[in-house]
Symmetry: C2
Subunit: 361 residues, 2 copies
């Protein structure tokens, strides 16, 4: 299963707001439609929205070809595509993969704008395809590295959705679980429902069910109960942005799990590709936290659950300080503290495309 | 506002499953109807279900009068009422106030059974009335004692519902907030929505709105985020049962809040009447934890939110160890560690009906 696929003239997405009730597809034929799909979380998950945005840029270049004509001035073309990138950039502020992908797209635009709109569109499409393939490959590599951390029989607790739906395919934290199961380990998963958007109850439960991996769905408030009873061995989560010191922004509730892990002396592992690391940020204090519509808290499936007029807050992410993170599993290996060093090593390894499985540093 | 009221031949309850959408009343004319209302959480909150059960016993005695006739044999009458008590006892296992109330009712039955069914019904009605009045009075006393712990301007985080709805009137933890506001303190409340039953989003938000107390509704997973930002000064929660060492069983998620308080060096206060203390239990490990229907996790307002066939768990309570509890506010004063001593002192004071405000021990 892939969360998204480019077909001829459109980006076809699984509409994740409709799961688990139905597997509905959404076809985006314009960059604006891709931006809307990202903002409304029809496609979500840091790696998935990065690749979706790259395809959005390719669609934007095709639109530019129609508007500007086949022989557009390279400067005008580049300016038009910077506007498209800006539109895609404004959708969600926290996950850095989105910005990382758009920057790589704009580099291609800079290099290829002399080829004209059609040529640029072709190059952007090629780049997005490469990102999509690299994402699945990176997930499988993270799966291998991370699976080695899991005992032969284990109870894992996870939060939000980090599976095939959050990526192009396979998954990050859920990819580690899949790889462990494929390697013959016996894994049972506690799935946090992950209010308010219910990515755990709606998406992770659906993916695990399809994969035949045993699970127990719980509310976010139950994680501590099961840890205190000794029923959880470790926590595996993804990340939306990692500062260079190893502070991790991830779905709201992750920080609480990390605090609980420390209180119960359990490992808390973060699984994310190196594209999630933002070396420009010294610490998590600099990561912008998306504040979403509070109606996502006061309503559920369009039904009001709180009294009318009640004020609510909806920070969509929180920051887990590096001191509470046991390891960060990347496609280049397992990074251990101090993360400032090990994350740089992971990126260096990634860039030389040599991918040893041993731990870093 | 009172959560319940006895009128002529019926116990009239606010149906808490219908809030906040409508204020609907449920009339219980038999003990079985009261038992059903407790089991289905139409009336909930440890103090409220204790008093509701006592009125259920009074209704059961009236039914016995009809079945057994006005001059029933005292032994047969007592046996019939023990059966009624057993039916009420089986509704919910964790909150001890229920068992405490039923035991006091059976003591009255033992003393009064020679008066015949009508006389016993009258005595039980009188006892239930006394419990209801004592509950409101105890709440107001807890409010006074607890309010003294709050700074003049403060941000309190609370979980579940501990207001007038959870008691006969006024509230325990929410009563402390009310008393602080009535004393001129400026209190803003973070309200955990409290999945799966949403007592926070549905009931606490509704009560605070009616009282005009400023609040922000959050999901349970957001408490850590606001604590890390320094936006929470303290946590106030109720209790369903307290072991004699001070371990506290309360709504699922309370333990996690206590762990978060410790990590952020914030006070975690429990507010509960002495009837919540179970001196027969040495520690929280002995408190039975109600396992409710997992459909309350996989569904919301009758709507399925998780895929069909997914296994879920629904422990309705967790146990917070005494070492994470800063103080227990009772109607007899504020109990501090070691709780084994201070809780006994509180009960002794309660029994002599002298109620000094100073801290215990």
């Amino acid at each position: 299963m892939q969360s998204l696929e480019f077909q001829d003239d459109r980006l076809r997405l699984i509409d994740q707001t409709r799961l688990p009730h139905e597997v509905a597809y959404l076809d985006c034929r314009t960059a604006a439609e891709v931006a809307e799909a990202i903002a409304s979380m029809r496609v979500r998950g840091a790696p998935a929205i990065g690749v979706a945005a790259a395809y959005g840029m390719a669609l934007g270049a095709r639109e530019a070809a129609q508007v500007l004509g086949g022989q557009a001035d390279p400067e005008r073309l580049a300016a038009a595509l910077r506007t498209v990138a800006e539109r895609l950039r404004r959708t969600r502020p926290t996950a850095v993969n989105l910005f990382w992908a758009l920057e790589r797209c704009l580099e291609v635009v800079g290099r290829a704008s002399a080829l004209g709109p059609a040529g640029v569109a072709e190059e952007l499409r090629r780049l997005a395809d490469q990102m999509a393939e690299a994402d699945v490959r990176a997930n499988q590599q993270m799966g291998q590295h991370g699976a080695a951390l899991l005992p032969p029989r284990t109870n894992v607790l996870t939060h939000c959705n980090t599976g095939a739906l959050a990526t192009v395919g396979y998954g990050t934290a859920l990819g580690v679980i899949r790889a462990a199961v494929e390697a013959g380990k016996r894994v049972h998963v506690f799935v946090d429902e992950t209010r308010p958007f219910l990515q755990g109850a709606r998406l992770t439960a659906w993916e695990l069910q399809r994969l035949g991996i045993p699970m127990t769905l719980i509310t976010d408030s139950m994680a501590g109960y099961f840890m205190a009873r000794g029923q959880v061995d470790l926590v595996l989560v993804g990340a939306d942005r990692i500062a260079r010191n190893g502070d991790v922004a991830n779905k709201i509730g992750t920080y609480t799990l990390a605090v609980l892990c420390r209180a119960h002396q359990l490992p808390c592992y973060v699984v994310a590709p190196t594209s999630t690391v933002d070396f420009e940020l010294a610490s998590g204090a600099d990561i912008p936290i998306e504040q979403r519509n509070p109606e996502e808290v006061t309503h559920l499936n369009g039904q009001r659950i709180a009294p009318a007029g009640v004020q609510a807050a909806h920070p969509a992410f929180d920051v887990t300080p590096a001191r509470l993170v046991s390891a960060i599993v990347t496609e280049a290996g397992v990074c251990r503290p101090p993360f400032e060093l090990s994350l740089r090593q992971a990126v260096a390894i990634r860039q030389t495309e040599t991918l040893p499985a041993e731990a870093l540093p």
